[in-house]
Amino acid sequence: MRRALLATAVLALGGGAWALHLGTARAVKKRAAEVSRERTAQLMDPWNAPLGARIQGATLHDGWRDLRELPTPVNVSGGWTDSVMVTRDGRRLYYGYARYDFWQFYLSVSTPTGGGVQLVPTGPSRPGMTGDAFKIFQADLTSQGWAQTFHPVNGDPSLSEASAAVNLNEDLLVFSRFPTGLPRAVYYSSKTAAGWSTPAAVPDVNSACDDDNGFVVGDLQSGTTFYFESTRVDNAATSCGSAHRLFRTHFPPSGPPTPIEPVPGLAGGDDAQPFVSPDQQEIYFTSVRNGFYGVFTADRQGNGDYGNIRPVVTGTTAPPYSGRLVLMGEANIARVPQGELMYLMCGIAESESGGYPTDVRLAVCVARRP
């Protein structure tokens, strides 16, 4: 009996090395809470954000690998999800969505048959939508995956609004608004304690030349540089061409912006959809150049021009196309402790006909570079 009491006392004293729990369930709860915390941190880690199927037929360059679709709710079946943007920390996505069928629209524009532009709603309404036109959505990384919300800068349901991008501080948002068809126009909204301001047109930029896909570096207090694509043939947009080029202008904290100029060093391609790193040392863009179509990158050189232009993502350019990557663009880069994440739009051919890809669906996708 004494030995048993002694053993109890020894064990009780030995228990000082661990926490003492009244009942196994309490000990389990402590450990389960540790599991929960670790798993939540893992799920909230952008490097481990939920992934979907691997994308076939893509060639990744420059150290990028593992191109995959994102799961729902970011990607949905049907409709037209487009213009993804990721914040620098990888924890938030912006994207546009319209209920219209992308492929029917694309065919009606690229190979017109006289039926006009086809805007046929095929996709579901995402939360907050009251119309079929493009609206901006935000998805935040949570322990339950991406949580999607309707962005407050969205206005009239009949207006198309998409191509959102935020600055590093996430307090300045630029986006495109197309009132009734083309031309598109770029707008901005700033975030204050009261929320996002009423959007206004980016001053001294919009023209008749399809100014679109704006990207902003800096903030309103210290000055911003605004990058965008346009079909203008000269800086003042006195006339429009067919090819896109990248332009920029700098807005100081006060006073007029600097004159619009082409992004230096990128001549020679049909360039669109810019992403610029916060230090402006890297630029990513969609381009057709030197006979190649894909996502390209360039580095800022000593003279301020961008150079060392090279492909990052290219797709399938010869049959078979079915199930393979045939369209790509809108690349944005997040930098996280484990490496970099590139979110972009991927067009995957569902089938092929006559040696061409058909039924292309757009999906938000992501690649990584450790």
């Binding site: 009491l5 009942g23 369930a25 709860k29 450990r31 929960s36």
Partner: protein, 161 residues
């Protein structure tokens, strides 16, 4: 609120136990059975020999379920009021904490005592180390290690030779 419930239970249980106790001896006996409240759950035990009892238990904490078996070997069965024992415990575990689900198992050893406060009602206490092995449902996160667990409860004993 919990303490109030326990007090009400004890106040009701003591007279009941005294009245049912009759001339029964206050001791664990072969063939005896018991049910009781132990820590965060309930337990039922059955003496399978002069020294060994086997039992089952269910424990619960918010988001945690523990269900398993207990085996106790009594050092001094038949002693009039206080019985010392060595116990083994094996449990399966499920949990859902902060929207993270998982499962696992535990195994523990302990020493303890049963002290009869009436012929049928006994206070129980035991303590010892327990090894816990938990994993989140996708298997991405696991957690294993030793914890020190004490149990306290009250049991109602009947039957036996």
């Amino acid at each position: 609120m919990k303490n109030l419930r326990r007090r009400i239970f004890l106040l009701a249980f003591f007279p009941l136990s005294m009245s049912l106790g009759g001339t029964a001896r206050a001791q664990v006996r072969p063939g005896g059975k018991s049910v009781g409240i132990l820590s965060n759950g309930i337990t039922a035990n059955f003496m399978v020999g002069p020294r060994w009892s086997v039992g089952a238990q269910v424990q619960r904490q918010s988001g945690v379920w523990v269900y398993g078996l207990r085996q106790r070997r009594f050092f001094n069965p038949g002693a009039p009021r206080t019985n010392f024992f060595f116990a083994l415990e094996e449990n399966l575990v499920t949990f859902d904490v902060d929207d993270i689900q998982g499962r696992g198992w535990t195994a523990g050893a302990s020493v303890g005592l049963i002290h009869f406060i009436t012929p049928r009602l006994a206070l129980e206490i035991d303590a010892g180390p327990a090894y816990l092995d938990l994993a989140e449902s996708t298997g991405e996160v696991a957690n294993r290690g030793l914890e020190f667990v004490a149990n306290a409860g009250i049991g109602w004993y009947w039957g036996g030779r």
